[in-house]
């Protein structure tokens, strides 16, 4: 019966709201007296355990969880910041710009390492690598490449095999894809060489990691570049079809971040959820694993730094120039 009510509820609200959600779910415990709206780019399956454990500790709360892509998330939130309480996204640059532009609430009570927060408003809660994911079948007889250079060599050596069998983010649509690409580009020129090689072979462009991994598993593509390692790992546990490579030349590590809307009307509850989220992601679990990669920095590991420079590639002119370059390389 309850599911039915929830369903009706969803139908009504979604008809009122023109946004097209990738997913949308309502979690509640007991008689809900308070509700919290979370706008997120993280797939529900990964985030649901965190919400559920929060509800166990805090009954009588309803949590609405909206999922959309990082770029549209930014757009939706900027349009109506009073509609949502918590914003969770993997696009660090967009999140940081939201804080810089004054959309986030300062939460002074939270204690968090300084490298994992910005302005006491933006809090990181995962560390996730950008990975090269391969279909094992395609690399049966050759050495599996460990770096971007290796990959370039491999692609060049078997151009007919890899024709139209490579995938990567469409940086024009995906905020996270744009972040990964710009960070790669600023680190090394190898990125542009790889893009040109990929463009020459014909590359499929994806909006999201999920779709890319789907196609990889089904064999539609053999190589996916800059996929979210955590999503791929989740799939790898189920089927042994894919190989995840963290490039040894320079790894790119992203942090998923959360912020509380400056215009939230449920500040105390939002703060409590934030506290819960950060605790959940920083505590060492004896039994079971985190549904999302925890916030543990391995020795020598480096992440994309939370600093104003993240806004560099969000600059209109810079973005235009970058996209132009990228298109010139990948779409041939």
């Amino acid at each position: 019966m309850r599911n039915f009510i929830i369903l009706i509820f969803i139908l009504i609200t979604s008809s009122l709201n023109a946004n097209e959600w990738e997913d949308r779910q309502v979690f509640s415990s007991g008689e809900s007296t308070q509700s919290l709206k979370i706008l997120s780019s993280t797939d529900t399956t990964f985030f649901a355990p965190i919400i559920k454990s929060f509800l166990e500790k805090n009954p009588n709360i309803k949590i609405e969880y909206f999922v959309t892509g990082t770029a549209s998330l930014d757009e939706i939130f900027r349009k109506s910041p009073e509609q949502y309480d918590l914003i969770i996204s993997s696009a660090m640059d967009l999140q940081l710009k939201l804080v810089n532009d004054g959309y986030a609430k300062k939460i002074n009570e939270i204690e968090h390492p300084s490298w994992a927060k910005w302005r006491q408003s933006l809090f990181a809660f995962t560390i996730e690598p950008a990975a090269i994911v391969l279909n094992k079948k395609a690399f049966k007889n050759t050495i599996i490449p460990k770096t971007r250079q290796d990959l370039i060599k491999e692609l060049r050596s078997r151009p007919t095999f890899f024709k139209n069998k490579i995938g990567t983010y469409d940086v024009r649509k995906s905020g996270l894809g744009y972040l990964f690409a710009t960070q790669d580009a600023r680190t090394s020129e190898t990125f542009w060489r790889l893009m040109e090689v990929m463009g020459g072979l014909g590359t499929k462009l994806y909006c999201c990691s999920g779709d890319m991994i789907d196609d990889l598993v089904s064999g539609k593509i053999a190589v996916a570049y800059n996929v979210l390692g955590s999503y791929a790992e989740a799939r790898q546990q189920k089927l042994d079809e894919i190989e995840i490579i963290l490039p040894a030349d320079f790894p790119t590590n992203m942090m998923r971040t959360a912020l509380v809307s400056n215009l939230t009307s449920r500040l105390r509850l939002s703060e409590r959820f934030m506290q819960h989220l950060l605790e959940n992601q920083t505590e060492k679990k004896v039994n079971g694993t985190h549904s999302l990669p925890p916030l543990f920095l391995k020795p020598g590991q480096q992440t994309i730094i939370l600093e104003p420079a993240l806004m560099t590639y969000l600059d209109k002119l810079k973005r235009k120039t970058f996209i132009k370059e990228w298109e010139r390389a990948i779409i041939q």
């Binding site: 104003p308 560099t312 209109k316 810079k318």
Partner: protein, 455 residues
């Protein structure tokens, strides 16, 4: 000397107040100067970074295929990262048209020169420091002007300033406390010569009118000089008046003696009763006058001699025996018996004439107040201390007068009808003081006055 001196403030408090308030003012001024200076340095630091960021953006401006491209490096914004994660805003204008950045970020008005300008403005409800500059490029067809502004919030800067302010305030308070302690010490040491002078004036005896000769600070020199001059004048005028009294007494005594001898001679010749009575009254009055004159002379002599004591060894027993022998005839006239008890022998060093004079005055007094057929007992003893006691059987001292009887010209309230000037006890007291002896007056239990000289 009855009107009380008015007290108006205190030199020490005034000095302390001046020093401490001076230190407070100085401390506050110093605080603002240091804080302002620190603020300027901190601001310069922020300006330098903003300027570097600004020029790195301007350097990246190129015209490609007729379009303006600003491919500024990652470092342009990266260098603006601060400890407190300050927010960063920027805007890029091409001939006044926004081509990138924050459109609501105000542009600086004075865009007249090529130099960079720095302003502090209010943006998004917070203070931001903004640097602006422009660059002119010559394209294929036209000249274009690119102006760039980059602004940063001042959270880290204010924290630094607050830290500095706190430290400076702490130093300032320490400095103030130190100055307060120092000014207390300085005040005390400045005031102390004045206090010493006051103490030494207070400690002086009533007759001591000698000038102050100790070293004094230059500021006190005029005061002490004036004081010394005043005392010299006072001393001089005192001496003059005493000389005058002595001179007057001396001049009066001789004519009085002449008048007395004439009165005596006339008394022998007249036989009428009322005439004889009148002459007797006259003789008594003359006696009184001449006695007063001689006491005044004695006193003047004593004042002079006490200033220049001529000490010798005196046998007190012999001195008193001699005195009593001389006074015996006068005592016999009143049927008074003079009894000398010599328990011990006393020898002392002193001015013979002064001591003789003093004791004679005491015995004279006793003779005057003693009733007829009375006994005056003079005792010399050394137990418990060497002393001389003269005791009569008269009415004794009025108890309420015991304290001021030793002053000059003071006579007891029961002295009516008795010849005297009131100088007797004063002379005795002055002599005792000059010899560091003690004169005490008391009344005997069985009646009669008792004068004791303790040597």
């Amino acid at each position: 000397m009855t009107n009380k001196l008015q007290v108006s403030g205190s030199l020490r408090n005034r000095l302390m107040f001046t020093l401490i308030s001076g230190a407070a003012v100085l401390g506050i001024v110093l605080f603002f100067i240091v804080r302002g200076y620190a603020a300027q340095i901190a601001q310069n630091g922020q300006d330098d970074i903003l300027e570097a960021s600004l020029s790195s953006i301007l350097d990246a401006v190129v015209i490609q295929d007729g379009f303006v491209e600003v491919d500024f490096p990652y470092a342009s914004l990266s260098m603006l990262d601060t400890e407190l994660d300050d927010r960063v805003f920027y805007s890029i204008y091409n001939d006044g048209i926004l081509i990138s950045g924050y459109e609501d970020l105000p542009q600086t008005e004075k865009n007249n020169t090529d130099t960079n300008t720095f302003t502090t403005i209010k943006y998004k409800n917070t203070n931001v420091r903004m640097a602006s500059a422009k660059r002119t490029l010559i394209g294929e067809k036209e000249r274009i002007t690119i102006s760039v502004s980059i602004a940063q919030t001042q959270d880290a800067l204010s924290r630094t300033l607050n830290r500095i302010s706190k430290n400076v305030a702490l130093f300032g308070s320490g400095f103030f406390i130190l100055v307060t302690l120092l000014s207390y010490w300085a005040t005390a040491s400045t005031i102390s010569p004045l206090m010493r002078l006051a103490t030494s004036v207070t400690k002086r005896g009533p007759q001591d009118l000698s000038p102050f000769e100790k070293k004094v600070p230059s500021e006190m020199y005029p005061l002490v000089t004036s004081l010394n001059k005043l005392m010299t004048r006072l001393d001089l005028s005192l001496k003059q008046s005493e000389d005058f009294i002595a001179e007057a007494a001396h001049r009066v005594r001789t004519p009085l003696a002449t008048v007395r001898s004439y009165a005596d001679a006339t008394l022998q010749r007249v036989s009428k009763r009322e005439n004889r009575d009148a002459l007797r009254s006259m003789v008594r009055a003359i006696d009184e006058a001449s006695r007063a004159a001689s006491q005044l002379l004695d006193h003047a002599m004593i004042t002079f001699r006490t200033d220049n004591l001529q000490k010798e060894l005196i046998n007190l027993n012999a001195l008193i025996q001699n005195l009593i022998d001389n006074l015996e005839p006068i005592a016999e006239m009143k049927d008074i018996k003079l009894k000398l008890i010599q328990k011990d022998k006393i020898e002392l060093s002193g001015d013979f004439i002064l001591i003789q004079n003093a004791i004679r005055n005491i015995i004279d007094n006793a003779l005057k107040y003693s009733p007829d057929d009375g006994v005056i007992t003079v005792t010399i003893a050394t137990n418990p201390e060497p002393h001389l006691k003269i005791q009569d059987q008269g009415p004794g001292f009025p108890p309420e007068d015991l304290d001021n009887l030793k002053s000059r010209f003071k006579r007891g309230q029961n002295s009516n009808g008795i010849v005297g000037s009131g100088l007797g006890l004063t002379i005795a007291q002055d002599v005792a003081n000059a010899h560091e002896a003690k004169l005490t007056l008391s009344n005997h239990e069985k009646g009669g006055a008792c004068v004791t000289l303790l040597f």
